[in-house]
């Protein structure tokens, strides 16, 4: 017996329309990450693996506390232990690396398989393994370098914002686990308001460049991040101004329609030719001379 789950789809890859009926207005949900109060305990990483039944992968000690050098198809949530020297000594600029659930997802734009990447009505961007063809185009399309190719299944994998939990009214597993409360979950409006308050607090505490990272280039993200050093997002390994790559846009909004028009034109042309001149006949000694198809 399973809980009936049918979140409406706002947008679906490689198709013009989603299946959103527009009858219900679902609030956009969001994660809030406060990098300044993260203690790097990795409870969110463990919670993610546990909830999503991911396999444990071998790690290697490379002189950092960070679990893996980068995200993995079996590791969707990674705390980046960015080390930085300041006047007072070493400072860790912790950052939770995961899918940002962009309002304008580059992965979805780049995906050529219909319905393989969907954006639900509440803003969650999810990969549907049934439809995924494993072409890795979403890797190219993502401005945050998040989707990973799973070697054994041949599908793409990334954080789903625990859509199975969110759809039944629970918070994502990582959010629930976080012992310092630097991770919060709620509607996008609430999370942005929370972030704005925290940024004000940081500014009054001397971090004058504090910023809520919610980049406009992808129309905002479903994961908003408070950065104490907002003038240097690259210190956190975040792109300064992320965009859906121009080539993906060019291909999707120009080349693809052009190709469709070309195919359509070819069919129309062939039909017109057929009605005007009839089928091509081999003229031979035995063949009767016919100019019109028998009607």
């Amino acid at each position: 017996m399973s809980v009936q789950q049918n979140l409406e789809i706002r947008r679906s890859s490689a198709s013009v329309w989603g299946s959103q009926s527009g009858m219900r207005s679902v609030p956009t949900v969001s994660k809030y990450i406060d990098t300044t109060t993260c203690i790097g305990c990795k409870a969110c990483e463990a919670a993610c693996i546990e909830w999503n039944d991911l396999r444990h992968i071998a790690t290697e000690q490379t002189g950092t506390y960070q679990t893996l050098p980068t995200l993995h198809a079996e590791y969707w949530n990674l705390i980046r232990f960015n080390e930085r020297d300041f006047d007072g000594g070493l400072v860790w600029l912790m950052r939770k690396d995961q899918c940002m659930h962009c309002e304008e997802p580059g992965c979805l734009a780049a995906c050529p398989a219909p319905g393989a990447i969907v954006q639900y009505a509440n803003g969650i961007v999810d990969v549907n393994p049934d439809q995924c063809i494993g072409c890795k185009y979403c890797e190219t399309g993502c401005p945050f370098d998040v989707p990973r190719f799973h070697q054994t299944t041949g599908k793409m994998a990334k954080c789903t914002l625990c859509v199975d939990r969110v759809s039944v009214g629970l918070e994502p597993a990582c959010i629930k686990a976080c012992p310092t409360g630097c991770l919060q979950f709620g509607t996008k409006d609430d999370m942005v308001a929370l972030g704005a308050r925290r940024v004000e607090q940081l500014k009054s505490n001397g971090f004058t460049n504090a910023l809520l990272y919610n980049p406009e280039g992808v129309h905002g993200t479903g994961v908003v991040t408070v950065l104490a050093h907002g003038d240097h997002p690259e210190w956190y390994q975040l792109p300064r101004d992320p965009h859906v790559p121009i080539l993906v846009r060019f291909w999707k909004s120009f080349l693809r329609p052009l190709g469709a028009i070309a195919i359509f034109g070819a069919v129309i042309g062939a039909l017109t030719h057929y009605t005007k001149f009839g089928p091509k006949e081999v003229r031979g000694v035995d063949a009767p001379d016919r100019n019109l198809p028998d009607a």
């Binding site: 979140l7 679906s12 990483e45 919670a47 039944d53 639900y120 999810d126 686990a177």
Partner: protein, 191 residues
């Protein structure tokens, strides 16, 4: 209606062509099933540190006679007033701890001079501990101090309480060690 072989093949071809015209993907886009919708929830306390976070242990089945309840998921208990649903990485991975093949599920004893652990039944273990407690108390009991004042203490035993012990358990524990005259008492909750 009579359907010939040829007619059937034609109908199949036409039918599948029509089916291909529809967006099959739209009907299929559904998320992963919520995996704990019908599991049995059992409240417990995380065994690790002194915080004693509350956990909810999800087991397979609804406790019916023929269902073998295996732990499938552990997460924080939001009703626990201190942790309020949060857990640390050790606590959140309790499932692996519970289901691990090396988990200790029965008492073991390492006898004096021995270099290995051997199995012992619960009854034997408790009887053995009781014997040791009685012997130690008989050997070390101090009824009067140097000034001749009655102290009735037993400095041969020390007691350390666990951090996840409940109030009720601590009450009983305190009564027992007071009855034994144990003066050295500590709790792991200070660690």
């Amino acid at each position: 209606m009579e359907l010939t072989r040829r007619g059937f093949l034609k109908a199949t071809a036409v039918g599948s062509t029509i089916a291909l015209g529809f967006d099959v993907a739209r009907a299929k886009a559904e998320m992963r099933e919520f995996k704990i919708s019908r599991t049995t929830e059992t409240r417990s306390v995380c065994p690790y540190c002194a915080v004693g976070c509350g956990v909810i242990i999800h087991t397979l089945g609804d406790k019916s006679k023929n269902a073998k309840a295996s732990v499938v998921h552990v997460e924080g208990d939001p009703d626990q007033p201190v942790s309020r649903g949060t857990l640390c990485p050790k606590g959140i991975t309790l499932k692996d701890d519970i289901t691990h093949k090396n988990r200790l599920t029965k008492p073991k004893v390492r006898r004096p001079g021995s270099d290995h652990w051997e199995d012992i039944s619960w009854d034997d273990a408790i009887a053995k501990i009781a014997r040791h407690v009685k012997d130690t108390r008989d050997k070390c009991f101090v009824a009067k101090n140097a000034k001749g004042e009655v102290v009735n203490r037993n400095p041969g035993i020390a007691m350390i309480g666990g951090c996840t012990d409940t109030n009720e358990f601590n009450y009983l524990q305190w009564k027992v060690i007071t009855a034994l005259g144990v003066p050295y008492r500590d709790t792991q909750a200070r660690v």
